[in-house]
């Protein structure tokens, strides 16, 4: 691949990382949701329409996208957060599908089947990396905060969290707002890099690629989705040459293998700690009550 092609691939890896962080934000609180794809679509089409109609400046567009995403996240959470996990997951998938129907039918605002053009001012490395750094910083600060600890507790066991005076609904509500804000930003970037968005830009494929990225990277640490998104965007590009149209099969196989054999993903802080503890022990050390080194990483994982 040429250098330009590599740079383009990396840019989309960055956008996917934002989407993956959005999915991670709700998964953190124990909710599997593809809704960020829908939030991204709404932000992107609003941005495209306003930029065309009233000449909205790109920086304002990004802020608007984030705000719109967060507001939609709050509205969605208010409606569906009380559903059981299966129903909740499927309701968010239904949102993605309804999104496509809306794009196709609101021709006046979205351009319908032929899509719409979007200014590409935000499609630069500075904006993308800047946003990723801000998002990463916010997530890393949240990880150690009261919210982060509460979110971990809610994901592991809502009933136990409740006995610790944590309201799972409240935590999940916040998670959805966070997820909406990140999804909105990701949507604006996706449209800025593509400079053209259509009904299929924000559809199931995007949702699955980013979900796969979260699972591969690891859904237990905020760096996981970023690592996973980069790996999962570059992998198909590398495979396109030898595999042709079957490159997506590898995505599917990888997803199944990872969830079976590496359920905690690539960025697995607990395994890293185990490894570190093992290397710190010197040969002369006679402690034998340490966790056996060969313990499988996912032995007690219940994702």
């Amino acid at each position: 691949m040429s250098t330009t092609a590599w740079l383009t691939t990396l840019q989309f890896a960055g956008v996917n990382a934002l989407f993956a962080l959005a999915i991670y934000a709700s998964l953190w609180t124990g909710v599997l949701s593809l809704a960020p794809v829908f939030f991204g679509a709404v932000s992107a089409f609003t941005f495209g329409y306003l930029a065309g109609a009233i000449g909205l400046s790109p920086a304002l567009g990004l802020l608007l996208g984030v705000a719109l995403g967060a507001a939609l996240g709050a509205a969605t959470a208010g409606l569906i957060i009380r559903l059981d996990s299966h129903y909740l997951a499927m309701a968010t998938i239904a949102m993605v599908l309804i999104g496509r129907v809306l794009v196709l039918n609101l021709t006046e605002y979205t351009g319908g089947a032929s899509g719409t053009l979007v200014p590409g001012d935000l499609g630069t490395w500075v904006w993308l990396i800047g946003t990723l750094v801000v998002a990463g910083y916010v997530m890393s600060r949240l990880a150690g905060s009261r919210f982060g600890l509460a979110a971990d507790a809610v994901r592991e066991d809502p009933a136990v969290a409740q006995t610790l005076a944590i309201s799972p609904r409240q935590i999940q509500f916040v998670g959805f707002i966070l997820s909406g804000a990140l999804g909105g930003a990701a949507g604006v970037f996706q449209s800025s890099f593509l400079q053209y968005i259509g009904p299929d830009t924000f559809y199931t494929h995007l949702g699955f690629v980013t979900l796969a990225a979260v699972v591969l990277g690891g859904a237990f640490h905020w760096a996981g989705p970023i690592v996973g998104a980069i790996a999962f965007t570059i992998l198909p590009e590398l495979l396109r040459e030898p595999m042709g149209e079957y490159d997506r099969v590898v995505t599917g196989v990888a997803l199944v293998l990872i969830i079976i054999y590496m359920p905690r993903g690539l960025v697995d802080v607990r395994r890293l700690r185990l490894l570190r503890d093992r290397t710190r022990r010197r040969p002369g050390d006679r402690r034998e009550d340490v966790t056996p080194a060969g313990a499988p990483a996912g032995a007690e994982a219940s994702s």
Partner: protein, 295 residues
């Protein structure tokens, strides 16, 4: 009035395909606890396999239908044993099977796309019954009759199987708790394999009949079915397959009516809108009972 009656017939026939699919989907969801988003691809592969047998090998349509249904069932068993069984053994929780099933969906859909090519095809004329039946001023296609009959037969048989036979008792026991079922002498693994085969085979049947009614075989058959089927299961409540079947038919009628009298563009939006509405207002489904969930 004539138009209304004709559209009602069309709606019931369309809904029967959705209902068939929903029955299989509900079986996996209720008895195995897996939200299997790959279920639609079983339908696609059932249709593709039967088309391939009819078109490339000149097989009789009915034989091809049976083989396509069997093939879909085998795919279901394969997916269950390769992806879901390891997760079940590890007791991996609710998300892991959903993600694994997304993986299977991507694999089977990509392969179906590559196998069928981008051009939609239909069963060769002459191999399938197409002569319309005229009665009471209505036009009924043979495919519609076959679909409705298939739905009635499948729902009756599956319902009797689950409620009146030893096998059904075993399935219900395993669905509550595989380990306790094993203690009382049920082979849990064999039972689950049988359920996986049955559910995927019914999906395959829905795929073949859907392709026959639309006169169109393509890799995207299963995608439409998946959502309509899911909507039917949610609205009907998945405890009882009869609820899912009734709602599947209702969704078909609603779709035909809304594209006739409201707008064809918003047909899907109306279906999914109702799905979201029911999810919000009555998550256990119209006919469902509240599920007992372990704290």
């Amino acid at each position: 009035m004539q138009l209304l009656a004709q559209q009602l017939v069309n709606g019931i026939a369309l809904g029967s395909v959705y209902a068939l699919f929903a029955v299989g989907f509900a079986l996996i969801l209720a008895k195995m606890g897996i939200l299997n988003v790959a279920h639609g691809t079983f339908a696609t592969w059932g249709a593709l396999a039967s088309y391939w047998l009819v078109f490339d090998h000149g097989l009789n349509f009915w034989l091809a239908l049976a083989l396509g249904v069997g093939f879909a069932g085998l795919l279901g068993v394969l997916a269950d044993q390769l992806a879901f069984e390891p997760l079940r053994r590890r007791n991996a929780g609710t998300f892991a099977p959903i993600i694994a099933s997304i993986g299977i969906w991507i694999i089977l859909l990509t392969l179906a796309e590559a196998f069928s090519g981008p051009v939609a095809v239909s069963y060769p004329t002459g191999s399938v019954p197409t002569e319309p039946i005229r009665a009471l001023g209505l036009i009924v296609l043979p495919a519609q009759v076959i679909t409705v009959l298939a739905l009635v037969v499948v729902v009756t048989l599956v319902h009797l199987l689950l409620t009146r036979t030893r096998f059904g008792a075993a399935v219900r026991a395993v669905s509550v708790d595989p380990r306790s079922a094993t203690i009382v002498g049920v082979n849990a693994r064999r039972t689950l394999i049988a359920v996986a085969f049955l559910a995927a085979a019914i999906a395959g049947l829905a795929g073949v009949l859907g392709a026959l009614s639309d006169n169109n075989v393509s890799f995207s058959i299963g995608e439409a079915l998946l959502l309509k089927g899911f909507a039917a299961v949610v609205v009907g409540g998945y405890g009882d397959i009869r609820g899912a079947a009734v709602c599947g038919v209702a969704i078909g009628v609603l779709e035909v009516m809304s594209s006739q009298y409201i707008s064809s563009g918003f047909r899907d939006a109306i279906t999914f809108g109702i799905l979201l509405l029911v999810l919000v207002a009555r998550p256990q489904g119209l006919f469902g009972e509240r599920q007992l969930v372990r704290a």
